[in-house]
């Protein structure tokens, strides 16, 4: 696949509801006990990465990447019951030595169309 051709692309928006079941499944998958999760006011900061599975991201399709850096920035914390409109954009693709370096960003907005969070990722893939 020529990933460079997707530079600048943005996925279709997807609405994601934050449920208690989603939070509990995430907590169990990250080695957190049930009681500790019950006491949280907001969802853990790295949780939005699991939203990728609900979204169609053509430049990731069938590809294997190494995750190098990740940054989450929150304007508001996320809580159970929130409904988020999410998109992913491929901001840049650079060739660095034998690797392609992808800069992409998942963002989530609330029902008032306000930015809730941004999740920027730097991914590496061996150039073909």
């Amino acid at each position: 696949m020529n990933i460079k051709q997707w530079e600048g692309a943005v996925t279709l928006p997807v609405s994601i509801k934050i449920t208690k079941e989603l939070l509990m499944a995430y907590a169990a998958a990250t080695g957190t006990d049930h009681t500790a999760t019950e006491e949280l006011k907001h969802v853990p900061p790295a949780l939005p990465m699991i939203f990728y599975q609900y979204m169609s991201v053509p430049w990731l399709d069938g590809q294997s990447f190494i995750h190098k850096e990740q940054t989450f920035v929150y304007e508001y914390p996320i809580s159970i019951g929130d409904l988020l409109q999410c998109t992913i954009s491929l901001n840049s693709v650079e060739k660095r030595r034998q690797f392609l370096v992808l800069h992409q960003e998942l963002i989530g907005k609330n029902e008032q169309n306000q930015m809730v969070f941004s999740a920027k990722s730097i991914l590496l893939k061996e150039a073909e």
Partner: protein, 132 residues
């Protein structure tokens, strides 16, 4: 803001053995079924000596170091992490953290993740914001 959060204060470290069961659960909940996390041979094809855990799983586990503070008076404004070395499936990771800045209603926590194989597999920062 509590005076406990002063420059240089150490947080209670956490450690977790990242078992194959946890990796499988994370793969299921995240939808990330990249074979480098589940198959030694696939991992070796990519230059690793054995299958490795998801970087985002390390990041998720590391964030738990600030959970005792979140139920006090803070929420997380920002969280970043660089993944420096791989963590192999079955390894026990250790997360340590210290307060690196206290300013204007924010507390910056430096976190570091280590494994038995590498003294530093990931490092990052969490910025905690006081509720207004």
């Amino acid at each position: 803001m509590s005076s406990a959060y002063q420059f240089g204060s150490l947080l209670e470290p956490i450690s977790l053995e990242v078992t194959e069961e946890i990796i499988k659960r994370y793969g299921d909940v995240s939808g990330d079924h990249n074979p480098i996390h589940f198959d030694d041979n696939e991992a070796k094809k990519r230059g690793f000596s054995a299958k490795i855990i998801h970087g985002m799983l390390s990041m998720a586990i590391a964030s738990k170091i600030v959970e005792p503070l979140l139920n006090d008076s803070f929420w997380i404004k920002q969280y970043n992490m660089k993944f420096i070395k791989p963590v192999f499936a079955g390894e026990r990771i250790l997360v340590s953290g210290s307060v690196s800045l206290v300013q204007d209603g924010q507390v910056l926590i430096h976190v570091q993740v280590s494994s038995p194989t590498y003294p530093q597999v990931a490092k990052g920062e969490l910025c905690l914001q006081v509720y207004k």
